[in-house]
């Protein structure tokens, strides 16, 4: 107990600053350990887990959620929430797939531009409602979730675009590998790192944390609230647009009802990754690891031959256990801080 008190009060007093020591106590490191333990448990029961082809499947299923979760993490860090991500992905996927169906020889770059443009436009809708009209994000994106999802259903008109109607080059995007790892996975890693660095080291990134932990204080400090809120929603929309294009490439088939609970998946990944739902704390890396944890859990349930009906219960239990663990941890940290403050006063 006293040991944990020591380590927790250390960053505040600046006494312990070894890089390794800090790394060992980072939340992301604990998450990585949790991920490793889950992987180990699955491997012990079913060694096939470690086969390259299986790991590739796990990585691929983690990537799309991971990219969305990275955008969602920034939104949540700024004390907002974006419930419309799944609908944006569906719209982007369908619009870009139907454009590609009509222009099979069109350049793929243009498909990406179209998908990202669709995502950006829908993100702009969210940004407008939250930043300009001051509607609480949870309500505004609840409304746009319905509008966007309904919009793609009307636009698609019950149609389904399958891989045979699309040029092969599109589906190949998901198959290209670099150093034996699919390029989609590299893309997710790169995006996670870029946004992690933006959040940690740029002014915009720090402002997001400031806004999330104390909006009023941030306003008094001269941080433009509207601009930053608009930024997180535009960014989330853009990333969802990108994921929409990749979705079609990865799964081949696109219809209007894909990604029905992507919003809950992305929020769960961020929360399990240690992003506080009240904003102001957590990291993009944690959210990415959270997405991977869920992918491993899903794969584990399939591999171990556990009935597919158990998956949702396992996911729910995982979310509850993690947040309860965090709450326990936060309470201990609070107590430790109080104790160290008490000791300092005595001295």
């Amino acid at each position: 107990m006293s040991k944990s008190a020591d380590t927790i009060s250390a960053p505040a007093s600046g006494m312990r600053s070894g890089t390794i020591g800090r790394l060992l106590h980072a939340r992301e490191f604990r998450l990585a350990i949790a991920l490793f333990v889950i992987g180990l448990l699955v491997t012990l029961r079913e060694p096939r887990f470690l086969q390259a082809s299986n790991l590739e499947q796990v990585a691929l299923s983690a990537t799309l959620v991971c990219i969305v979760a990275v955008g969602e993490a920034l939104v949540i860090i700024a004390r907002q929430v974006d419930l419309s991500v799944g609908a944006i992905v569906a719209m982007s996927a369908f619009v870009s797939a139907s454009w590609l169906e009509a222009n099979p020889n069109g350049p793929l770059v243009l498909v990406f531009l179209i998908g990202c443009g669709v995502g950006l436009a829908m993100g702009a809708g969210n940004a407008l409602l939250v930043a300009l009209f001051r509607i609480p994000a949870i309500v505004a994106t609840l409304g746009t979730l319905a509008i966007y999802r309904g919009g793609v259903i009307v636009y698609a008109g019950g149609r389904q675009i399958s891989a045979t109607q699309l040029p092969d080059s599109y589906g190949h995007i998901a198959e290209i590998a670099f150093l034996g790892v699919p390029i989609l996975v590299w893309l997710a890693i790169a995006l996670t790192l870029v946004f992690g660095l933006i959040a940690r080291f740029t002014q915009v990134g720090r402002n997001l944390y400031a806004l999330g932990s104390n909006p009023e204080g941030a306003r008094f400090a001269g941080i433009g609230e509207g601009r930053h809120i608009a930024f997180v929603f535009l960014n989330s929309g853009l990333l969802c647009g990108l994921v929409g294009v990749l979705w079609g490439a990865r799964f081949g088939t696109v219809d209007a009802v894909i990604a029905p609970d992507l919003n809950l998946q992305a929020i769960s990944a961020a929360v399990v990754g240690g992003v506080s739902i009240f904003g102001g704390s957590g990291s993009v890396y944690g959210a990415a690891i959270g997405a991977v944890i869920f992918a491993v859990l899903q794969n584990g349930v399939q591999l171990l031959g556990i009935n597919q009906f158990w998956l949702q219960a396992v996911v729910g239990a995982a979310i509850l256990v993690t947040v309860l663990f965090y709450s326990l941890f936060a309470r201990r940290a609070e107590e430790a801080e109080r104790m160290s403050r008490h000791q300092a006063k005595r001295r």
Binding site: L129, F133, G143, G151, L264, S268, N307, V315, G316, I319
Partner: protein, 328 residues
Amino acid sequence: MTRLTALLARWETFLLLVLAAAVITGAESSHYFLTSSNLSIAIAGAMPISIVALPMTLVIITGEIDISVGSMIGLCATIIALSIEAGCSAPLAMAAGIAVGALAGLVNGAIVVFGALPSLVVTIGTLALYRGVAQILLKERGVSDFPDWYQAIGFGTVGSTPIPWSAVIFLLFFAGFAVYLHRTRYGRVLYAIGNNRTAARFSGVNVGCVLIGVFVASGIMCSVAAIVLTAYLASARSDTAIGLELPVITAVVLGGVNIFGGSGTLGGVLIALMVLAFVQNSLGLAGVTPEEQQIVTGAVLILTLVVFGGATKLRRTWRGLMQSWASE
């Protein structure tokens, strides 16, 4: 005069205008709209959402949220189905469903209070957990051997009148919830908690106890909604009421309840429920599919908030202008 302007500036008054507009456009677009049988169908279809909107209003007024309502309905429907499969009588099955609903709500409340955790996160977790348990228990089966009187709860009407039984159930609960929220001390406590939790605690309110109570109420009302919904659909499955949380929260927010807690009335929520039910019904009469109707639902939600927000801002500017003019 000031009382009149205060009344006019209320959210509920504004919603009544929206409701009138919805009814007039409905009647304009189809002459079936105002027939008693159509209104009866529209109301019966909206009852499960309405029943859950009552406790959701209380939950949101205290500054919390319950995302797991759809899954709790699914879980209760599953329990009812299993009990009937096991040969229980329908009343016993209903009691089992209500007990499990109360238990599910208790779990939500206990985790939120004792874990000191945000309810948004906890109920996202239990959303997956309860639906998962329902799927484990009932798999892909559907149970529909309900007695006739049970099915009458869903779409039967009182005698020869066009009033659905489910609406009677809803109105009884609505009266109970409205009296509790607006006419008792306990109702004021909910607003106090939503406005300033620390102040409420220092005034001697057992905040944890009240919150658990509110979540248990949510669970129990979900089981009531499960009964009405399984009766309405004449079948109970583990995927009953998937995604129901979104229309419920939409109705409560449209009803003028502040999503951050502390303000809102059940009267507003009632009008909002009617607006949504009539808009959806008239769209249905016009041949718009339910999937396409959600565009209109979302647009109604956002437009109402934007317009009312704009109107409030205009009024403030106007008042400021008048005051500066008067002082000169």
